[in-house]
């Protein structure tokens, strides 16, 4: 998934927050304005700001940026225009990775149908977070710190390259915390299927090369583990 360019369509607070958070991950972060009359809100952020329209003419865009090496965020506030933009980009660029924002479940379905690779339903996501904060405050805080804050505790994806190390064992048979100081949450297999460790009493898969482990642990322990079994997965 690592690309060079992040193209954010939508000159608004959502777009701005996305730009702010991902700016370290990409060489170029470009925000696109649909309406020329928009106020210039984020001029101090060193963002490249360009204009676009919904005319379906992407030649200027393709001349400037290699879309095969780009990720696109569709965050227009007008739901209909956002869907139109998504479908327009998908019809022009089959392999483009598009993340689209939406307010409600109805438009989330439409965005998926329009070809968005990932849809973030804002209202549902916010409501989920509020509910989690009330139902399970400690878990929510811990996960928030692991996922989003600069905490010592990290969550990482590790791709297994040295399955021999595990000597034909099942993930549930290994004492991860005692042996490696990390906890394995889930395993994603090469065929795309994934399972949570201990999720059932039956043992389905032996550890194989190509499996991706989602692990939680301290940075040093994760690095040690990585050295032993594989590499950090950044695809």
């Amino acid at each position: 998934m690592k690309k060079t360019n992040a193209l954010i369509f939508g000159y608004n607070e959502y777009g701005f927050e996305i730009a702010k958070n991902i700016s370290n991950e990409y060489n170029n972060v470009i925000m696109f304005k649909l309406d020329e009359n928009d106020d210039i809100l984020y001029k101090n952020l060193n963002l490249t700001i360009e204009s676009f329209d919904l005319s379906d003419d992407w030649s200027t865009l393709t001349q400037k940026y290699d879309l095969k090496d780009s990720i696109v965020f569709c965050s227009l506030e007008d739901v209909a225009k956002n869907i139109f933009l998504t479908i327009s980009l998908r019809s022009a660029f089959k392999d483009l990775f598009i993340i689209a924002l939406t307010n409600n479940n109805e438009s989330a379905n439409k965005l998926s149908m329009a070809g968005a690779s990932k849809v973030i339903p804002i209202i549902e996501t916010t409501a989920n977070l509020i509910t989690d904060m009330l139902k399970k405050p400690i878990i929510t805080q811990v996960l928030h710190d692991i996922l989003y804050e600069d905490s010592d505790l990290k969550i990482e994806q590790i791709k297994i390259l040295n399955s021999e190390y595990f000597n034909e064992k099942y993930p549930a048979d290994i004492e991860w915390s005692r042996d490696h100081g990390v906890l394995v949450i889930s395993v994603t297999h090469e065929d795309g299927s994934s399972e949570f460790i201990y999720s059932s009493k039956t043992k389905h898969h032996l550890i194989k090369n190509g499996d991706i482990f989602t692990i939680v642990g301290y940075e040093t322990d994760i690095k040690e583990f990585e050295k032993l079994v594989g590499v950090k997965d950044e695809d």
Partner: protein, 521 residues
């Protein structure tokens, strides 16, 4: 005399400060008078049962001989219970000790002698006020069948039916609704009374001397008039003269208008009070609840949050000043009141103890001004209550913090963080997302270390979570308010700590049961 007064005052102070006495008094007040007391309904149902069984026995006795047990039950047991209830109501109707204390403090302040006569007068007046109230008279008459030897007094059993008004709240609502139209009902009654009086006299004058007319006395004339004006018209007593029939036509026409007016009065009284009735019902229901979550504002995010919290069986109350949004909340099956979340009065009207009954307040208007205003209002009432608020515009963050909000949720920033995490580690992101999903079978749960668990499990190594196929992510220690990831085996477990575990929901349930069942050998 002085010694007696001293004794009286001392005794009054003793009663007033006696925890046992005050607790008993409060208990009887709650059970007899406090509609918000959760056990009152059981007492009311019990009393209604007694009333209905008493009336059933009376009806049965009309043609048959009831068994002696029934007689004893009806005449002694029920009457005795009613008598005790009457005495208790008389006791709690006013406080004698408070009158004595008040008079004592008053006389001390003004350096006067204690006025015993005033106390007697005041206490007698207070108690008489109660004794002469309609409800107390009904209560007293309902005890009368106790003197069953006087057969006439048995008819007083029927007064027990009137006692139902005390216990069935719908009757009280009915009378309170009708009371709002007192003036209209009075006017209507006056009109009907005048029509009945004039028409009875007229028809009596016109018919009494007619040998063919069945109306021979003023009583028969009044009876005819009432039967006619009510549009019942039995036909057993009719006017036969032309003049009498003309009066009948006038009375019939008046009767139609009286009937129509009465019906419309009932309808309008109920229509006008319907919302108030529903509102007071919600307030009554809310007052009985614990761990209430008050949602201020009912817009898109609030709707979604309420839906999820209701599904998790949380007690939700929605406050919003927009009638449209409140109607929507009601339609969604929520308890909702059209109260302004930014008004102190709104919370006072709820009659709840904010510190004890309210778990959290969620300011979920999609408008920072409204959320700041609501948060400030709530903070002015209660310093400690947990407030969570939405933030719509980053520039207002400090204002919300300043207004006393504990947790701020800025959805735009959250979306930015999600985007970052998703593009960085999509597999890990999806794994965590699935763990948090309410539809997933694999869950992350918090397990509280209760005293029972702490009695049997001292260290992490005793937990035995692996046997239940559960991952222990870490422990949140109450003492340090910190999370310890992957704790070592000799980490001490204390009451109030939380275990954060991951596993199949069924395994976790089994594990919690196991922890609670385990007893120290």
């Amino acid at each position: 005399m002085n010694f007696f007064i001293r004794l009286l005052v001392d005794f009054a102070y003793f009663l007033n400060s006696s925890i046992w006495y005050q607790r008993k008094r409060r208990f009887f007040y709650n059970i007899l008078e406090n509609d918000e007391y959760k056990y009152k309904k059981y007492f009311d149902i019990f009393m209604m049962f007694l009333i209905l069984s008493s009336v059933s026995i009376l009806i049965y006795e009309v043609r048959r001989d009831a068994h002696d047990y029934f007689q004893i039950f009806n005449n002694y047991v029920i009457s005795f219970i009613f008598f005790v209830e009457y005495i208790l109501r008389l006791w709690i109707s006013s406080s004698i000790s408070k009158v004595i204390i008040h008079q004592n403090e008053y006389s001390d302040l003004l350096e006067r002698d204690f006025d015993l006569w005033y106390v007697i007068k005041r206490v007698t007046r207070d108690k008489l006020d109660y004794i002469l109230s309609v409800k107390a008279i009904i209560d007293l008459l309902a005890i009368m069948p106790f003197f069953h030897e006087l057969r006439l007094l048995r008819i007083f059993i029927l007064f027990r039916v009137f006692k139902l008004f005390r216990y069935a709240k719908s009757f009280q609502t009915f009378s309170s609704v009708l009371a709002t139209k007192k003036f209209e009902f009075f006017t209507l009654s006056m009109f009907a009374a005048i029509v009945i009086f004039v028409s009875s006299v007229l028809v009596y004058v016109m018919e009494a001397n007619n040998p063919d007319s069945p109306i021979n006395t003023l009583y028969e004339a009044i009876y005819w008039s009432i039967v006619t004006i009510s549009t019942v018209g039995y036909g057993d007593v009719v006017a036969v003269s032309k003049e009498g029939q003309f009066v009948a036509v006038v009375v019939i026409l008046s009767g139609i208008s009286v009937l129509a007016f009465t019906t419309s009065l009932f309808v309008s009284a109920f229509t006008e009070k319907l919302e108030d009735i529903k509102e007071s019902k919600v307030i009554q229901d809310i007052a009985k609840l614990q761990r209430i979550y008050i949602v201020c504002g009912y817009e898109e995010i609030a709707k979604e949050v309420s839906k999820k919290l209701i599904r998790a069986k949380f007690n939700i109350l929605v406050l919003d000043d927009s009638i449209d949004r409140i109607n929507e909340a009601k339609k969604d099956g929520l308890m909702a009141l059209q109260y302004n979340p930014g008004s102190v009065d709104s919370y006072k009207k709820l009659h709840i103890d904010m510190s004890k009954q309210v778990k959290a307040i969620l300011c979920l208007r999609e408008d920072d001004v409204e959320n700041v205003y609501a948060a400030l209002t709530i903070r002015s009432i209660n310093k400690d209550i947990y407030i969570l608020s939405l933030l719509m515009n980053r520039v207002n963050k400090n204002k919300l913090l300043h207004s006393g909000v504990n947790e701020i949720l800025y959805d735009k920033e959250f979306v930015g963080l999600i985007a970052k995490e998703y593009i960085g580690q999509p597999v890990a992101f999806e794994a965590i997302h699935t763990l948090r999903s309410e539809y997933s079978t694999v869950k992350m749960e918090e397990i509280l270390i209760t005293e029972r668990i702490a009695n049997t499990i001292t260290y992490v190594e005793d937990l035995g979570n692996i046997n239940f196929r559960i991952v222990l992510l870490g422990i949140h220690k109450k003492s340090s308010e910190r999370f310890y990831f992957n704790p070592i085996n000799d980490t001490l477990l204390e009451v109030g700590d939380y275990l954060l575990v991951i596993g199949n929901y069924m395994f976790i349930k089994e594990y919690i049961k196991h922890l609670s069942k385990k007893t120290r050998v």
